[in-house]
Subunit: 120 residues, 2 copies
DNA sequence: ATTATAATTAGAATAATTCTAAAAACAGAG
DNA sequence: CTCTGTTTTTAGAATTATTCTAATTATAAT
């Protein structure tokens, strides 16, 4: 594992924001000012391929990257904010039903986050 | 509802392919040779806003558009092929648990489609 | 130290999508 | 009908996210 890959992986694992490549790039720059956006993209791609992080493709905005630990996502339909949520009881069943053939799954639940709900 | 919006909506509702804007554009062109890609994008956006179709954002490829009828998706992790699937028993529970606050949800199950599995 | 291999950089290239301004189509009032 | 205002469509430039290519730098192995 390369230098930058290691730091990027830590950034993702330590934060519970769901950062885009660009946001990770800015974080990374704080300690590694020489790094370049393409490097972040490259490393994110290899980390995904190696199955060390998870890519979340979002409607209407750039992909976000997340730790592996299994969980689902609540996504605000209005502002796009993402938060973690576990629908364990349900997804346990899901996994059982799906069986071996399944590689993974992605459950996104869309709602209006508290802030956006007030604005209405 | 405008002329092209109507045809696009029909194309989506009549097919069970999960077409990208570009694929829809080529379909549309068969009967409406003058239409332009931007028009397809515009109409897809308004159809989505009006809640008449559903946008599926896919990992690593362009958004696909789908009819409203509630169902889930099986996505081949390798070639990206999308097919419909209903995990009704599970998602009924999901909806019950989620309750009022929820706008919608999106469940994608990743697997290896029969073709890709053979290739291995 | 020398060479081979892999990682990073810089920046051009690409793909998907949006934006802008002009042209065309349509709809209603006279 | 014909004029006028509004909406839709068009053409193409612009933008955003991402990938690619080639050169450079760093790392590891001999």
């Amino acid at each position: 594992m390369t230098k930058y890959a290691k730091i990027i992986l830590e950034l993702i694992n330590q934060s519970d924001r769901h950062m885009t490549a660009e946001q990770l790039f800015f974080e990374l720059k704080k300690t590694e000012p020489k790094v370049v956006l393409a490097t972040v993209y490259n490393n994110l791609n290899t980390l995904c391929q190696e199955g060390l992080i998870r890519r979340l493709s979002m409607e209407g905005s750039a992909d976000r990257f997340d730790k592996l630990k299994k969980h689902d996502h609540l996504v605000c339909k209005k502002c796009g904010a993402v938060s973690d949520q576990s629908f364990e009881d349900l997804t346990k069943d899901l996994e059982k039903q799906l069986g071996e053939a399944i590689v993974s799954y992605d459950l996104k639940v869309y709602y209006l986050c508290p802030e956006c709900r007030e604005e209405r």
